[in-house]
């Protein structure tokens, strides 16, 4: 069923009887050509592109809970392609371009809103680094804009410039960046994949792999054994737990990242803004809540909740640049499991086990990558060659010394 304004009107006039399920709840079949583990944004996008763009069929997405329940359902909704390194920037720029056409592609309004993202800087050294990054973005075909404090204040006149501990010296903006209604991304891809015949199987947890002679044959699940020619893991924060069942250790640690939303407010922030002298970034949802976040709690965790010190740190950062937020109330905070890789960049690669593929290590940047991650993973699954924008995301880059370390923090995941 195609969605449209006309259809909404027609249904409204006829009691909304015509709306069908956005996607089918499928039961598992005995075997598939492709089994994708993880019904999050990336897994569903992978299934969608595998079916739609690469023309594959007999595809299943296995989700241990409800689709979109992982990081795509608990992030701060930001999209951008403001990366420094050539291993990353073309990939994220591809993703941003896919976002720009997502709604028309999926016939689903995920509210992709290119309201711009602005990174503030507060020292000369930060400015130098941002100029280098802005240039790298433009040399890769993305947009970037170095903004003076005066120009920034035109858009954000309420920034603290009078008595700031770390005065704002300017900012690097990407006007094509912005936000997306995150849950809708999962639902839109699910609906699209379903329409192309993908089986989306909820409440189906993978409990093991069947591997013989170095080749994967299928997966054991809470709903029985499912055979597969190719198995693709796409489970973000649970990567180590799942791949451990195939006997693999990963260059990944799982960490908790908290995020926050305020009570609804009449329009406050026009775009996404990040503080450069503390851990704080913020945007405002269409519903009116300020959506904000900061640093990792910093310790390995699968608990999906954090602790007070980081809550305070984030709110301190908020008050540092927006002292008008003091009387705004924090409504809800939550924590997600971040698959923090050793260099802060993802891995999309074949494993040493034939037919077993891996996509993970997204750190806290996975949401913006969703469309491209799906596309390049589908490309890898369909062709067994990496997509041209994702050639650097290999497992062996650590032993070869080809890290993609945007922040320059080395092999310490909680600092990326």
């Amino acid at each position: 069923m195609r969605y449209s304004g006309l259809r909404v009107i027609k249904e409204a006039l006829t009691g909304h009887r015509g709306w069908g399920p956005a996607w089918r709840d499928a039961d598992p079949k005995p075997d598939y050509d492709y089994v994708i583990i993880g019904g999050g944004g990336h897994g569903l996008a992978t299934a969608y592109y595998l079916a739609k763009k690469y023309g594959k069929s007999r595809i299943a997405v296995l989700e241990k809970g409800w689709i979109g329940g992982g990081n795509v359902g608990r992030n701060t909704t930001i999209i951008r392609s403001n990366y420094l390194l050539d291993g990353n920037e073309p990939f994220y720029e591809l993703s941003l371009q896919l976002w720009e056409n997502l709604e028309q592609e999926l016939n689903y309004n995920a509210m992709v809103s290119q309201r711009g993202i602005l990174n503030l800087f507060h020292t000369d050294a930060q400015r130098d680094a941002f100029i280098r990054r802005g240039n790298a973005m433009m040399l890769n075909g993305a947009d970037a804009d170095l903004m003076s404090t005066e120009r920034i204040l035109e858009k954000y006149p309420f920034l603290n410039v009078h008595n700031a501990r770390f005065p704002i010296k300017g900012g690097l903006a990407q006007h094509r960046g912005g936000t997306v209604r995150h849950d809708a991304v999962a639902w839109g891809y699910a609906r699209g994949a379903d329409q192309h015949g993908v089986d989306i199987i909820q409440n189906c947890e993978v409990t093991g792999f069947r591997i013989e002679h170095g080749k994967v044959l299928g997966v054991e699940t809470s709903r029985g054994y499912i055979g597969a020619k190719k198995v693709a893991s796409c489970v973000a924060g649970s990567s180590s737990r799942v791949m451990e069942k195939a006997g693999m250790r990963l260059p990944i640690e799982s960490h908790v990242l908290q995020a926050f939303v305020s009570e609804g407010l009449k329009p406050v922030l026009p775009g996404v803004i990040t503080f450069g002298a503390g851990h704080f970034y913020c945007s405002q949802s269409d519903k009116g809540g300020l959506v904000f976040g900061g640093d990792l709690d910093g310790y390995n965790s699968y608990a999906q909740r954090g602790n007070l010190p980081v809550v305070e740190d984030v709110c301190e950062g908020g008050m540092a640049i927006f002292p008008m937020l003091g009387r705004v109330r924090l409504l809800r905070m939550w924590g997600g499991i971040m698959d923090m890789s050793m260099d802060g960049s993802p891995i999309i690669d074949q494993t040493h086990i034939e037919g077993l593929y891996f996509n993970g290590g997204w750190c806290y940047g996975g949401f913006k990558a969703t469309p491209a991650s799906g596309l390049v993973y589908a490309h890898l699954l369909a062709t067994d060659t990496p997509h041209p924008t994702a050639t650097a995301y290999r497992f062996d880059r650590f032993e070869r010394g080809l890290m993609i370390d945007e922040k320059g923090m080395g092999n310490q995941p909680n600092l990326h």
Binding site: R241, E244, R249, I252, Y299, N300, S301, M342, Q412
Partner: protein, 95 residues
């Protein structure tokens, strides 16, 4: 979180800086035949369990001890705290 420092008693975890897997104590031998492979494994591969995890914390705003904390990554329950130096000696770091 509260970390029961073996010398100083209960301290808020905010006083500490986290490093990670306590296996980082076991730095490989630089002269081993496969030193590069061993160091790669040491530096990059992690068990990352959902459950009991032995990990290194530094009492940065305290007595500057490195500690090995045994903590459950699902419940955050801490069951053991040791001085990393004692652990390193006990586990055979001999220099």
């Amino acid at each position: 979180m509260i970390i029961h420092h073996p010398i100083l008693g209960p301290r808020d975890s905010a006083e500490f800086t986290y490093l990670g897997d306590a296996n980082l104590i076991h730095r490989p031998d630089w002269q081993a035949e496969d030193a590069l492979a061993q160091f790669t494994d040491y530096g990059y591969q992690r068990k990352n369990p959902a459950g009991v995890h032995r990990e290194l914390w530094f009492h940065e705003q305290g007595d500057r001890s490195w500690l090995v904390v045994t903590r459950n990554t699902v419940t955050h329950e801490i069951t053991k705290v040791e001085l990393a130096r004692d652990v390193a000696r006990a586990e055979g770091r001999d220099t």
